[in-house]
């Protein structure tokens, strides 16, 4: 019964992850008073956001982590950290908050390379270091051949130092509303602008601070409510949109995509069990399908919430594209499964969705989950939505094909006797790739038509569009080669795995590795190792499979 043990272990994995990731985060929010402040509206990065979001974004920026363990072992949520800076006396300038990961940078500026975190005081009072930093940044400006990552990292570090300075100063951020899309005020500016009313706010703030420092009690939420009341009275309700902010805080706390990948993993395990078990198989299958459906619905909810929060289709950066790709793959699998029950679609989709969502969920510095305003060139809701969503559905289909490809290759190698399954898998893989080709070519053509409108040319061999074309050509070559008869069932499945590496390059590589061209608004850095390992494993896997398959065929002949 080794398989049963295996299954139980697999079942325990998501439970463990669930406990680790989800519960720990929200555990403290009941007894720490600062949670009431999560709804405080802050104007930052070109939009209004709850303090909750502001805190999460900035803690990740500083530490690369979503919660903080202080030197005495106490655990803080992002909101608690930032609220404590805002209200408290706790000396965060001495806390080793600032993450410096780049070893070369640490060497260059004279920091201990064995340390990962440094305090504001360590860095800011070290004049030698500050001088070195600004020198590294200046040198880059003079010589283009100079190490660009180094100076980039230096700039990031300088920004982090400034950020701690800003957060710990009394003039932390802009939370006093201003009328009609104007720049919001910090407390001092607010008092100057609103005079009497501003002084009231200051009084509220001082009261809040006193209560907070006294340890917080019921009075704290009363104080917060009075503060909100007074802030709201300063401007028209449209300029202080508490409803939308509530939605965003709800979204932040829900973690729909995290719950979704947990659901995917659970349904994956359930589907495996359903495959083994004869007696209870059907019930477990339906339960697994239900869990998968729940995961998909959670993703849809997350997607809708993001749309509401940002007032646009959430498909403008790598994180959003990944999340939407996972949703697409889930939906395609779910509908396949509804029309012909074979478990296999859920199995493959559950794995690929979970992998993609885990990547998106756990690498906030690579795939930035924050919601940001759109650059001017993208500001066309119709084109943006149609172009990116179509392309991403194409990616999603290829992702699903990747999953099916893995399973069929597995069948070819280890269960070649199940011809019927193999045949239907191959058929669906082909069909899924066709869907992908349809959507990717539609998306690429829509992109070209949009480019004709926005940039004045239909096609300009920009790296991003060239790679979309390359990915499309690879799949076209696969499909055509199959018609010619150069590849058969096994080849098609193996090719669906290899061809997906082209999608990874088109989606991730162009923005993160090549880093040239007109799609610069999506550029980022980081994650190269993970992606390289993934691509390497996939290629080795296919190589191994091809060799084994050939040897088997030779033996049979």
């Amino acid at each position: 019964m080794s398989s049963l043990r295996c299954v139980i272990l697999l079942l325990l994995l998501p439970v463990w992850l669930l406990e680790n990731q989800c519960l720990a985060l929200d555990k403290n929010s009941i007894d720490i008073p600062s949670s009431g402040l999560s709804l405080l509206i802050v104007q930052d990065g070109g939009r209004k956001k709850p303090l909750d979001t502001y805190a999460r974004e900035n803690l990740i920026k500083l530490t690369g982590r979503s919660k903080w363990k202080d030197s005495e072992g106490g655990e803080w949520t992002a909101l608690e950290v930032i609220a404590d800076m805002f209200l408290g006396t706790n000396n965060w300038q001495k806390e080793k908050l600032i993450k410096v990961g780049h070893i070369l940078l640490k060497k260059e500026v004279g920091l201990d390379i064995n340390e990962k975190f440094f305090s504001y005081q360590d860095l800011h009072t070290n004049q030698e270091l500050m001088k070195n930093l600004s020198q590294i940044i200046r040198i880059e400006e003079d010589a283009p051949q100079y190490d660009k990552t180094l100076s980039f990292e230096a700039k990031v570090l300088l920004q982090k130092i400034r950020l701690v300075e800003k957060l710990t100063a009394s003039e932390a951020f802009s939370w006093i509303p201003a009328p009609k899309g104007e720049s919001w005020f910090s407390l001092i500016e607010g008092i100057e602008f609103y005079k009497e009313k501003g002084k009231n706010i200051q009084q509220n703030y001082e009261n809040l601070k006193t209560v907070y420092l006294a340890g917080g009690d019921r009075n704290f939420s009363d104080c917060v409510n009075i503060l909100f009341e007074n802030l709201r009275s300063l401007v028209s309700p449209n300029d202080y949109p508490q409803g939308k902010i509530r939605i965003e805080v709800f979204y932040n706390n829900l973690h729909p995509f995290r719950l979704a990948w947990i659901a995917c993993l659970i349904s994956f395990v359930l589907m495996l069990i359903a495959n083994q078990q004869k007696s209870l198989g059907k019930a477990i299958y339906w339960f697994g399908l239900g869990v998968f459906g729940l995961g998909t619905i959670l993703q849809v909810i997350g997607f809708i919430l993001r749309t509401v929060i940002s007032s646009r289709a959430p498909v403008t950066n790598m994180y959003e594209v990944l999340v939407f790709m996972a949703l697409g793959a889930s939906l395609i699998a779910f509908f396949y499964e509804l029309f012909c029950r074979s478990k296999i679609f859920i199995l493959s989709a559950a794995v690929v969705t979970a992998v993609v969502l885990i990547l998106a969920d756990n690498l906030p510095t690579v795939f930035d989950p924050s919601i940001q305003p759109l650059v001017p060139v993208l500001r066309s809701n119709w084109w943006l939505t149609v172009h990116v969503i179509t392309i991403t559905i194409g990616y999603a289909a290829f992702l699903q094909a990747l999953g099916i490809g893995h399973i069929s290759v597995f069948y070819y190698l280890f269960k070649p006797q199940e011809e019927k399954s193999i045949q239907s898998l191959t058929k669906f893989n082909c069909r899924t790739m066709q869907i992908g080709v349809f959507f990717l070519s539609a998306g690429t053509l829509l992109g070209a038509l949009w480019a004709e409108k926005a940039w004045g040319r239909f096609w300009g061999w920009d790296p991003k569009e060239t790679w979309a074309l390359i990915a499309l050509l690879i799949y076209l070559a696969v499909l055509h080669a199959r018609y010619v008869g150069w590849i058969k069932g096994f080849g098609l499945n193996a090719a669906s795995i290899l061809a997906f590496q082209g999608i990874i390059m088109a989606g991730y590589g162009v923005n993160y590795i090549l880093g040239t061209g007109k799609h610069s608004y999506g550029f980022g850095i980081g994650g190269e190792e993970i992606v390289a390992i993934f691509v390497g494993i996939e290629i080795l896997l296919v190589l191994f499979a091809v060799i084994r398959y050939r040897m088997k065929r030779l033996k049979n002949d």
């Binding site: 305003p373 058929k427 066709q434 038509l449 390359i470 050509l473 070559a477 069932g489 040239t516």
Partner: protein
């Protein structure tokens, strides 16, 4: 025979091979682009002839694949539609390339309207200024780059061949006008010195710089290297030289001279000798009085002029001029500054201000001016009979004076200063300029290309460098010919004026959220005008052109907005091609979902 060729050209095997080759080349090209530059990638891959051939071959494959399957049946419709769509896009692209017009207009807010677009194609414009005739010859840059022999430029009909033949030799990506100083034939005193500076701590090999100091050119009188200033001073006679080397007290120098030009009548007045005296012009008509001299001019707290010291740090003179024009009495009050001519001011009654020029010359070396006390100064004195002297002073120290030989280091051991030697002394300098190619400086974001032309005529065979957008005129056999190397301009039937440019930002930031140009477009024939806002993703269509927002700049001179104008007759083909491809794929893959199942079964069977 033909049908077999077509069968081969239209085979799916060829398609797979071509698609494979194209993919590999494109992957290579994008990697090349990221390691080199977009320009290089375009010239090596996307813009090259063989790349076009590959695409053409793919097009032929698509056509032949359709022909091979003739006569077509219903099950071919998806395939045919898709391939027709691909063809339409290719044809649309070729039409766009051949017949399309693309150019840019840069408009200044509140300025006049523009009625021509500037394309990115370069032309050489040749005109005969005596007859107002001109020719525009488009230049094929790529052809010119690879050409081994000069490409002739047709000058007919404006200049006959026996007068002048012109051919394009090559094009330089970036050039610069360099100063060339030669001995003039006039032999009058106008000295220039070529100096060389080399870093005293020679940590890099090419740290030697050569520069010219020219007395007659105000821009080349002083060179600055960080806190160090080098100034040229001329002394035509021994007496002048002695005066410079052993300067008399400032009282003896005087207060400089003022040059008046009043409605053509010229008067020169030495300030010191003429203060508070009425000086008459040679015809006696004009009377000038220098009312007051301010050696170190300032405005005090009550806004009245004062002198804060007796040293001539900022000499200014308050003057009064009066004369009679018939019955009318004209007079002028004014202030004139020696160091800041642009600040001079005057009040004129009864005459045209343009007709009155006042110029205050007060030659002092920088050493005499307190404002330079914190700078290190080296004055190089070019004296008579090739004598060279220097007067140097470091901030806060005393002057050092000495004589110099050519190629001898100025004996100063100032820390951090470059070693300075005088390479050449030109007694009667004539400043010429020469266009030389220099490497492209990508950081600068600006380059000035130049075209090298070969001119051939009777008694004439020379190569000329014509810089971009700088007209160049020569006389050939009494015929004035003007060359202009510039971007091609295409006239429009309408004119565009920028009424307002706005750049809204995201709330609370300086990040631009949009770039918006409010323009007025006027039809030239009917005079009808339309006002519209153009912004990203919201172009305007007018007169066959699509006008879209492309760039902007917001400098002290005012806001400018760059619009792109595009007329592409192939555009609709691209749209229809795209639609056909999509419908075709739908038909092919999804219209009859069961046919595929059958075919895949068949394939599986075949494979066994």
């Amino acid at each position: 025979m033909y049908s077999r060729l077509i069968a081969h050209l239209g085979s799916m095997r060829l398609a797979v091979v071509l698609i494979g080759i194209l993919s590999v080349i494109l992957i290579w090209a994008t990697i090349y682009e990221s390691t080199h530059s977009t320009q290089e990638a375009v010239s090596l891959f996307y813009g090259s002839v063989w790349f076009s051939c590959l695409l053409l071959l793919l097009g032929i494959n698509v056509v032949c694949a359709a022909l091979v399957r003739y006569p077509w049946s219903k099950r071919h419709r998806g395939f045919l539609l898709t391939h027709a769509g691909i063809l339409l896009i290719l044809i649309g692209a070729i039409i766009g390339l051949l017949l399309g017009k693309e150019g840019y207009i840069t408009l200044k807010e509140g300025a006049g309207s523009v009625d021509a677009i500037t394309t990115q194609r370069e032309v050489i414009q040749i005109s005969r200024t005596d007859r107002a005739e001109f020719l525009k010859v488009p230049l094929e840059i790529n052809k010119l780059k690879s050409a081994s022999v000069p490409i002739p430029i047709e000058l007919n009909p404006i200049i006959p061949k026996d007068i002048l033949k012109v051919s394009a030799v090559t094009r330089y990506e970036n050039t610069e006008e360099q100063t060339l100083v030669v001995e003039s034939e006039r032999k009058s005193f106008s000295p220039a010195l070529q100096i060389s500076l080399s870093a005293s701590r020679g940590n890099s090999a090419n740290s030697e710089i050569e520069e010219w100091l020219v007395l007659s050119d105000p821009e080349k009188q002083v060179l600055q290297f960080g806190p160090l200033f080098i100034q040229i001073i001329g002394a035509e006679t021994q007496k002048e030289l002695d005066q410079i080397l052993n300067p008399p007290s400032l009282e003896k120098i005087g207060f400089g001279n003022i040059f008046f030009d009043i409605e053509g009548e010229k008067i020169e007045i030495p300030v010191k000798e003429s203060l508070n005296k009425e000086i008459r012009s040679t015809n006696g008509n004009i009377a000038v009085t220098l009312k007051e001299y301010f050696p170190d001019f300032r405005m005090d707290d009550n806004d009245s002029p004062v002198s804060i010291s007796e040293t001539p740090n900022n000499p200014a003179v308050h003057y009064y001029i009066s004369w009679e024009k018939g019955e009318e009495k004209c007079f002028v009050y004014g202030f004139v500054f020696a160091d800041y001519p642009e600040l001079s001011m005057m009040k004129v009654h009864g005459a045209d201000e343009e007709q009155i020029k006042v110029n205050y010359k007060f030659n002092r070396s920088m050493l005499d001016i307190n404002a330079w006390d914190d700078s290190n100064i080296i004055c190089l004195v070019a004296g008579p009979e090739n004598q060279l002297h220097y007067i140097a002073r470091r901030a806060g120290e005393d002057k050092k004076i000495g004589t110099l030989q050519l190629n001898e280091k100025i004996p100063l051991n100032w820390k951090m200063n470059p070693a300075i030697t005088i390479k050449k002394y030109v007694f009667s300098a004539e400043v010429l300029s020469q266009v030389v190619p220099i490497p492209l400086d990508e950081e600068k974001g600006f380059s000035r290309p130049a075209l090298e032309l070969n001119l051939n005529g009777e008694n004439l065979s020379t190569n000329l460098m014509i810089q971009w957008n700088r007209p160049f005129e020569i006389q050939v056999k009494g015929v004035p010919v003007l060359f202009l190397y510039t971007d091609e301009k295409i006239p429009l039937d309408f004119e565009i004026q920028l009424l307002k440019f706005t750049m809204p930002t995201f709330e609370g930031t300086t990040m631009p959220a949009s770039y918006e140009s409010l323009v007025r477009v006027t039809d030239k024939k009917s005079g009808e005008a339309v006002e519209r806002k153009i912004w990203m993703n919201h172009p305007m269509t007018y007169g066959g052109y699509r006008i879209s927002q492309s760039g902007y700049s917001d400098s002290i001179g005012g806001k400018t907005s760059t619009l792109q104008l595009l007329s592409d007759p192939g555009s609709f083909l691209k749209w229809w091609g795209s639609i056909l491809i999509m419908i075709g794929i739908l038909f092919m893959y999804f219209w009859r979902p069961f046919s595929l199942r059958n075919s895949s079964r068949r394939n599986e069977k075949n494979s066994e």
